[in-house]
């Protein structure tokens, strides 16, 4: 046998596009990076249930309500796939939740914006889930096995989310003038926060270099953002609506749109806890967890009793 170090074997696997599995040796920083990224992703799914949950009781029809319930339930499921993926890296569910509840872990800044009208539910499904899908399609080939497998499941389920969102937008955009204005207002408010979802520009993204080196990410923030704009602008145009960016222009040379960067100061501000809904979102999460404590205790006590009666 050649005298290879664990690190060589790890690098060789990455070079061959093989996946790293939980029991494989991995550099401590790779593990840390993944725990941060996967848990942040899981928290985003769970916190993401809140802005949409806000509209379940006010959905405009029974059909819309059923669809929204199913979508929000999916988000909960996605959070659970991702939490178990993170746990394979050696962190417990309790620690993960604690990190969210104490503000130590982050979640996507997008969920700190309010859902003011029904059109926001359309805009979230179409734009926010659309941006998330772009990122997640790439992550299906991420180098960590459990994360990649969770992504495959999630991507299969997400496409309904985006389509239902766009369907809401078409109803509004081709409805009454008031409905059309409501759809435009939602795009105006969600466009730039959605652009922020891909993260800071490559030149200023502190985690990107390692993520690319370790094949956790396979495309950069700026590449994904560009692809999102290229894909979405024709969808906005079909609706007869506009993108709230005066600098948006087709660039024939690069076969893509030129566009304005979102306000990165706002992004940093929202991430560090000062967005319009940060307190409300985290407050709702912590309350739900606390209110559920008696259920967990009762279930644990019941399971213990069952085990005792089997043993007796």
């Amino acid at each position: 046998m050649e005298n290879k170090t664990y690190e060589d074997l790890f690098e060789a696997k990455l070079a061959k596009n093989e996946m790293i599995e939980p029991k494989d040796w991995m550099p401590e920083n790779y593990r840390k990076h993944l725990i941060r990224q996967v848990s942040q992703h899981a928290h985003s799914e769970i916190v993401g249930m809140l802005p949409e949950g806000n509209w379940i009781t006010r959905a405009p029809s029974l059909r819309a309500k059923k669809v929204l319930l199913a979508k929000v339930q999916d988000e909960g499921g996605h959070g659970l796939y991702l939490y178990t993926a993170a746990e394979t890296l050696g962190i417990s569910r309790d620690e993960l939740l604690d990190n969210l509840h104490t503000g130590k872990a982050k979640y996507s800044s997008i969920f700190n914006y309010p859902t003011l009208t029904w059109a926001d539910i359309g805009a979230i499904g179409w734009l926010v889930d659309g941006a998330a899908i772009m990122n997640q399609v790439m992550l299906q080939r991420t180098s960590y096995g459990p994360y990649a497998r969770a992504m495959v499941r999630i991507c299969k389920e997400e496409s309904f989310h985006q389509r239902q969102g766009y369907e809401i937008m078409t109803h509004l955009a081709f409805g009454t003038p008031e409905q059309k204005a409501m759809a435009q207002d939602a795009i105006n408010r969600w466009w730039f926060p959605t652009m922020m979802m891909f993260g800071p520009p490559d030149a200023e993204s502190p985690n990107s270099e390692n993520a690319m080196k370790w094949r956790i990410k396979r495309e950069t923030n700026d590449q994904l953002r560009q692809r999102f704009v290229n894909q979405t602008v024709p969808q906005v145009e079909y609706l007869g609506l506009t993108v709230p960016d005066p600098n948006l222009k087709w660039n024939e040379a690069k076969k893509g749109y030129d566009f304005s960067e979102p306000d990165w100061t706002e992004f940093k501000n929202v991430i560090s806890g000062n967005g319009p809904c940060n307190k409300e979102r985290l407050g709702a999460r912590v309350k739900a967890h606390k209110d559920g404590a008696w259920v967990r205790e009762a279930a644990a006590a019941y399971a213990k009793k069952q085990n005792q009666s089997i043993a007796a």
Partner: protein, 95 residues
């Protein structure tokens, strides 16, 4: 790993009758009934299966990646376990 979410379980789904059960992920639950119900809600929301197994993760013993080479080595030099190792006269046709 047990915490306030209950122990971890591994979930196996059978897509259709007659097919093997395939691992699809894991979840937390306090007892086996709850594990089964959570598995249904989490992994079969779109008719992905018609039967489920849930197994406590602690009950699973796994081979270790470091020993992979030597552990599976016995199968490496036994080509005679494969049908193509044997010469059959052309006149016999498919066998």
């Amino acid at each position: 790993m047990s915490d306030s979410q209950g122990p971890l379980w591994e979930v196996f789904v059978q897509k259709k009758a007659g097919q093997p059960f395939v691992h699809c992920g894991s979840l937390h639950a306090f007892d086996k009934e709850m594990a089964l119900q959570n598995a249904r809600d989490l992994y079969t929301r779109r008719n992905e299966g018609m039967a489920l197994w849930v197994v406590p993760s602690s009950a699973i013993t796994a081979s270790s990646p470091e020993d992979m080479g030597s552990f599976f080595e016995p199968a490496n030099d036994k080509v005679y376990r494969h049908p193509t190792f044997y010469q059959i006269p052309d006149a016999i046709g498919h066998m």
